[in-house]
């Protein structure tokens, strides 16, 4: 192994360098110059995101512990882009006095989780996978508790940490069973020796539970609403898109590779949990008054839809999952961006507060509407194509009833997404949120999210591009 082959890990290495640079700037500057810290963090990460898209070779390292493929690299880039938009949207919040002296802390923690996710996605071995997973989780708990002076935020951090520990425990239990069954943790060995017996089935169920926890699949979803509500808006936004998308991607590649032999088992598991997740997520969402809790349940419901693509077990299904995740990231970021802008300005985060927003802040309202319509799957906005492809994939594999249930669920979801739209445009309000201007970064963040939504939907070639890539993990 020569030095060159380390370049396969370019994404991770760059992120590690970024963490060190952030740390160094904090030590040298002492965090005195707020403006410089923020600009430095955002601009550096923009460079990282762009470099990520430069061509890179694929292969394996460390005897198969680490692997990359075109699909994995695409996923990493999507995660980077999403994180970059989060960065843009977080600036106006970090500028506040309450966050003085802790600005870099935020960026360092976020990039650390991103490193964890990158390793998790690229893992070729359960040990690597587990390390990545933990690296992605523990800083996340610290982020959730970022507003230590706020009781709810602290509670969110503790809840996430404890439940994540529980889920890791169960998952480790599953991994140890796999090791017991085949005496190896390398994916390549496991694929070769995997056969169906009680031990592997238990291992599958436990590993699935651990990942389902991260994706917020019913009945492993309970932490979601509380943590989302307690954590700062930007952290919630980050968790709901980047964390979830990476976990969903990993779950899909594990099921397609390591557990391919157990398809008969995981198909019904996905079926049941998908139906439960879509339906319960939707039913809970209707009642929510707080935008963060609302988005928590909306993100649960969306997770149920992702399973439609995985369950189909086809190349079309897989590429659609990646496609859907990308759309989901942009749509959620549009909604959270607007919610964050409003929260930073006024401290309001109830849906009722949004009444009459259209009259005072039409541009924000429009971005929010695009995001919500995309999540609801209203054509011709991107979310519709994502859902439509998922439905087609599930249907082509013969899951007629699952598709019908999913379609019915989109009706329910349409109802509650429209509730917000209705509040913004129609509900009369004596004292709507006054007009305000967002800073440059926030504007860019919202514009990028909106462009993402529109472009992914209208440019048909994107799905085809992903379709051709995703051969890699089959």
């Amino acid at each position: 192994m020569n030095l060159n082959s380390f370049l396969l890990m370019r994404h991770e290495l760059i992120l590690i360098a970024v963490v060190l640079l952030y740390l160094a700037s904090e030590i040298i500057g002492g965090g005195k110059n707020k403006r410089f810290s923020l600009n430095f963090a955002v601009v550096l990460f923009l460079a990282v995101t762009i470099i990520g898209f430069l061509p890179i070779s694929t292969g394996t390292m460390f005897g198969g512990m680490y692997q990359t493929s075109p699909a994995i690299i695409l996923m990493k880039n999507i995660l980077n882009a999403g994180a970059f938009i989060v960065f843009l949207q977080v600036v106006s919040w970090l500028k506040k006095e309450e966050n003085d002296n802790r600005i870099m802390e935020f960026f360092i923690l976020i990039v650390s989780t991103l490193i964890g996710m990158n390793y998790m996605i690229s893992a070729g071995d359960f040990l690597m996978f587990y390390l990545g997973l933990e690296l992605a989780t523990i800083p996340m708990a610290a982020l959730a508790a970022y507003q230590v002076y706020n009781l709810k935020s602290a509670e969110a951090g503790i809840k996430l940490l404890l439940l994540a520990a529980l889920s890791s425990g169960i998952m480790l239990f599953g991994i140890s069973m796999l090791y017991g069954a085949s005496e190896s943790l390398y994916f390549t060995d496991l694929i070769r020796t995997m056969e169906m017996n009680s031990m592997t089935v238990l291992a599958l169920v436990f590993i699935f539970s651990g990942l389902a926890f991260k994706i917020s699949i019913v009945p492993f979803h309970f932490w979601t609403a509380d943590v989302y509500e307690g954590a700062p808006m930007s952290v919630t936004s980050y968790m709901s898109v980047i964390s979830k998308a990476s976990a969903a991607f990993v779950l899909m590649s594990l099921l397609f590779t390591v557990f391919a032999q157990l398809k008969e088992i995981w198909t019904p598991i996905l079926y049941i949990t998908s139906v439960l997740t879509m339906t319960l997520g939707n039913l809970f969402a209707i009642r929510q008054r707080n935008i963060k809790r609302f988005m928590a349940f909306s993100s649960i419901a969306q997770a149920g839809f992702i399973f439609l693509g995985i369950i189909s077990g086809t190349q079309m299904g897989m590429s659609t999952v990646i496609y859907f995740l990308a759309i989901y990231i942009f749509s959620n970021l549009a909604v959270f961006g607007v919610a964050g802008a409003i929260y930073n300005q006024t401290g309001k985060e109830l849906i009722d507060d949004y009444a009459g927003l259209y009259k005072t802040n039409p541009a924000l309202t429009l971005v929010m509407t695009f995001g919500l319509f995309s999540l609801a799957g209203i054509p011709p906005i991107a979310g519709f194509f994502g859902k439509f492809f998922l439905f087609t994939a599930a249907m082509e594999s013969g899951f007629l009833w699952l598709t019908v249930i999913a379609v019915l669920n989109t009706i329910i979801s349409l109802y509650y997404y429209l509730l917000i739209v209705k509040a913004m445009y129609i509900t009369p309000n004596e004292s709507p949120i006054a007009f305000f201007r967002s800073d440059f970064y926030m504007k860019m963040g919202l514009i990028l999210a909106t462009i993402g939504i529109l472009v992914i939907g209208f440019i048909g070639g994107i799905h085809h591009y992903i379709y051709n890539l995703s051969f890699g993990i089959l």
Partner: protein, 644 residues
Amino acid sequence: MTMDFQYTILIPILLFFSFVYNILWGRTRSPKIAGLISTTTILIAAVLSYYTAYQYFFNVGLVNGSYEKIIAFKMVWLHFSDTLVVDMGILLDPISIMMLVVVTTISSMVHIYSFGYMHGDDGFARFYAFLSLFSFSMLGLVVSSNIFQMYIFWELVGVSSFLLIGYYYQKPSAVAAAKKAFIVTRFADLGFLVGILLISYVTGSLDFAVLTDPNGPVMLQGASLGFMGLSVMTWALILIFIGGAGKSAMFPFHIWLPDAMEGPTPVSALIHAATMVVAGVYLVARLFPLFHIAAPNAQYVVLAVGGFTSLFAAVIAITQIDIKRVLAFSTLSQLGYMMAALGASGYGAEEGIGYTASMWHLFTHAMFKALLFLGAGSIIHAVHSNNMTDMGGLRKYMPITHITFLIGTLAIAGIPPFAGFFSKDEILVALHQSSHFWYWVEVITAGLTAFYMFRLYFNVFWGENRHYHHKPHESSLSMTFPLMFLAFMAIVSGGFFMFDFGAFISSNLVPYDIHIHWDIAGLSIFVALIGISLAAMLYLKPSGISTKMATALGPVYKATYNKFYFDEIYLFVTHKIIFNLIARPSAWFDRHVVDGFMNMLAWITNFVSGSIKGLQSGQLQHYAMSFVSGAVALALFFLYFMTR
């Protein structure tokens, strides 16, 4: 050959630009400019459409005795998988060209009319922006070359309809109506979407050219696989028809249309009378060979739903007082005619008379119904009320509105030589060939139509003079010109084309001649005259005018009038029996049961959502408990499942 029509891409694109301009900069310029831009673009689109129609029908369309389907423009848009690719394209064939003409004509008239009607309104630029958006989406819909593209435009049309119904967003009833329309049609559209999924699953194609090829493999696919006794193709088409029924407001999805009258009246004329609501009919016509050959059961559903809706809506129309609502229910009824005609039609030249008749009725109906709505708008503009009870004797004040409205009324009642007579006659011929039951239903409906339309006409223009706050006056030229133009069309689009419409449109694209069947036509004229005489007796107040009308209507009126006891019976039948026993209950059923069912669905969802709220307690122990039990339950279940 196809190169000739590439410019047709401009027709929708121009309107899209007009929308973008008006929505972005319309507010900052004078409102007149916004209106002028929208109106100019739609007029250009209309001219291009007429030119296309001329070129197609008279120069290049006819090849070897049958009309060609021309793909004027095409690009790959979505790539599902290696086998399923969706294009974005423009398909020109007789019906899409006819729709181009209808949409651009009516839309142009509405654009001109709105200059007067919306004058001084705050959202003038916004209004014209939405009109452009609607016209763009509707034109995109009619030229779609595949069903998926059509679905996208279908939804866009729904969105613009939503925006226009809710145009007076300060008014809670308008907002509620917009929401209702959007949700009911969305609900139906999901049927459409599942239908598309099924079709793509069964046939592997979404192209209209492939799907409607009568000799293609598609006709046999999906015939064997069954669910509940019907083939998959039948289910797919029924689901697609549900989408069409939602947009065309067929029973039981009709509930949104009467409420949609909350929008500005020109919008009602354009969207909820002439163009958008016929999209469902157009959809069925587009897929007609598939319906007829591959799924006759689905075609029968179309016939039954259409036939029932036409009668049901006509009965309800009798009891309405709001003039726009009368017109809304009459639209439902006429759409029912078009659907029923498609449902009854055969495939071929002469056998396909129902297909031709349906499209013909779509054409004439667009003209006379837009005329009636715009006339109603002119009346409302003058009287400032929607209620018939606030009107009367208006013929003296508004001569142009009066004459044009009368022409529209005669056309819809099916009196020759006005347009509605010819198209309705052909529909009745088609029904006569296929099903006697539905034939008689539609004959009765024809009588009811004449009755309620003349009830409206007499109440508004004749009857006693009201005391108006200020004297009503005739509307300005920008409003009366469209009325006159459409009145002209309502006269000539029937008789003028009488022997020609079959030469343009037929189910198998082969031109043929249409003849008037005087036996059937005679009966329908007779029934219509009975309806008119009844309306005259009941609503033309005895103020010396009735005698004039009596002579005008001739022997029919006299015969009825002289037999005085008949009058009593009619009064009894109409007021006591039809009103109380049929029309009121149907209106009640409509309001409480059909609406109520939709409300109940919403209520159940809310209730379930409320009752499970307690699960989310905030207690960490509970969460951990549920996590572990979830994992254990899955493990136990699958271990059991595996060892079984």
